[in-house]
């Protein structure tokens, strides 16, 4: 390093060299895609179970993605998104009565 104070151009050049883009690990795209698929499949399953039972207004509210993906997104908030979401899906599948039972349970919590 020279003794002179670095110029703005020097600093910018160093920053360009130091702050290089970081390639994501090879496994990450698969992990993200699996999680998104698990979330959307879970939502689709629940929606199909609910569809016959819900009122028009309830169906309308479900058209907002903020509503249908909320349970999964809440599970992701703890910092273990992938594991939690997949766990969510696995628990749903293990639950006695399957999607219909879960739908009834969740529906009973609706105001």
């Amino acid at each position: 390093m020279s003794e002179r104070e670095p110029s703005q151009a020097d600093v910018e050049k160093l920053l360009r060299s130091a702050l290089r883009p970081i390639e994501p690990p090879e496994k990450l795209p698969d992990r993200v895609e699996e999680t998104l698929t698990a979330v959307t499949e879970a939502a689709a399953t629940e929606l199909s179970a609910w569809a016959e039972e819900l009122s028009d207004s309830e169906l309308a509210s479900l058209r907002d993605p903020r509503n249908w993906v909320r349970p999964a997104a809440a599970a992701a908030a703890g910092g273990v998104a992938g594991g939690a979401l997949l766990l969510f899906e696995m628990r749903r599948r293990r639950r006695p009565g399957g999607a219909s039972a879960l739908a009834r349970e969740l529906r009973s919590r609706l105001p």
Binding site: E5, L15, A18, P21, P24, R31, V32, P65, G79, G82
Partner: protein, 183 residues
């Protein structure tokens, strides 16, 4: 991603939305990961943050797209990662730290120490970067690691273009001073 569904939408709309999200994901996975990595300092947490960022993005994608009026969505995506990283640091600050964490910085090295391994000059700039206030450092990560322009950074940080220009100028000036003072 091909199976990703937005079940509340009609078929063609859903397929179009899914295709748009998939494109966003492919275009910016590296950006989100890079930003997360420079913010949290390790691959494991950067992966978690990246995954959470895309989940949140997917959740709000339809609305974001509608309200973007055709503007690029990268700043919105990076803002999600930015907020998640801030939450991450806030949560860590609340958690009691062990004496080892206080005493041994090698236990949690900044990622850039590895990135610029063996290059003293680059290490020096990264060490100086750590001395900057958070908002200045974050703006520089967006500018130099992600190649975002002032307008994109302004949208990601929720500031005006003018304030962002000043923020970056001051960040670089401070960095010059930090580096000069250390020599």
């Amino acid at each position: 991603m091909a199976k990703a569904e937005q079940p509340a939408l009609a078929g063609p709309e859903k397929a179009e939305l899914d295709a748009a999200f998939e494109q966003l994901y492919r275009d910016h996975l590296r950006d989100v990961y890079s930003y997360s990595y420079y913010r949290v300092g390790n691959h494991h947490d950067a992966e978690d943050l990246t995954e959470q960022a895309f989940l949140q993005a997917y959740r709000h994608f339809e609305r974001a797209r509608r309200e973007s009026n055709g503007r690029p969505l990268r700043p919105w995506l990076i803002r999600i990662a930015h907020n998640l990283a801030s939450n991450y640091h806030r949560d860590r600050a609340r958690r009691p730290q062990s004496a080892l964490e206080h005493a041994d910085p090698i236990a949690a090295p900044h990622p850039t120490e590895r990135v610029v391994e063996g290059r003293a000059e680059l290490k020096h700039v990264m060490e100086s970067l750590q001395e900057l206030p958070d908002d200045r450092r974050e703006a520089l990560i967006m500018r130099f690691a992600l190649g975002m322009d002032n307008r994109e950074i302004a949208r990601a940080l929720g500031r005006t273009d003018g304030a962002t220009k000043v923020l970056i100028h001051r960040a670089i000036k401070q960095l010059e001073k930090e580096m000069g003072a250390d020599e």
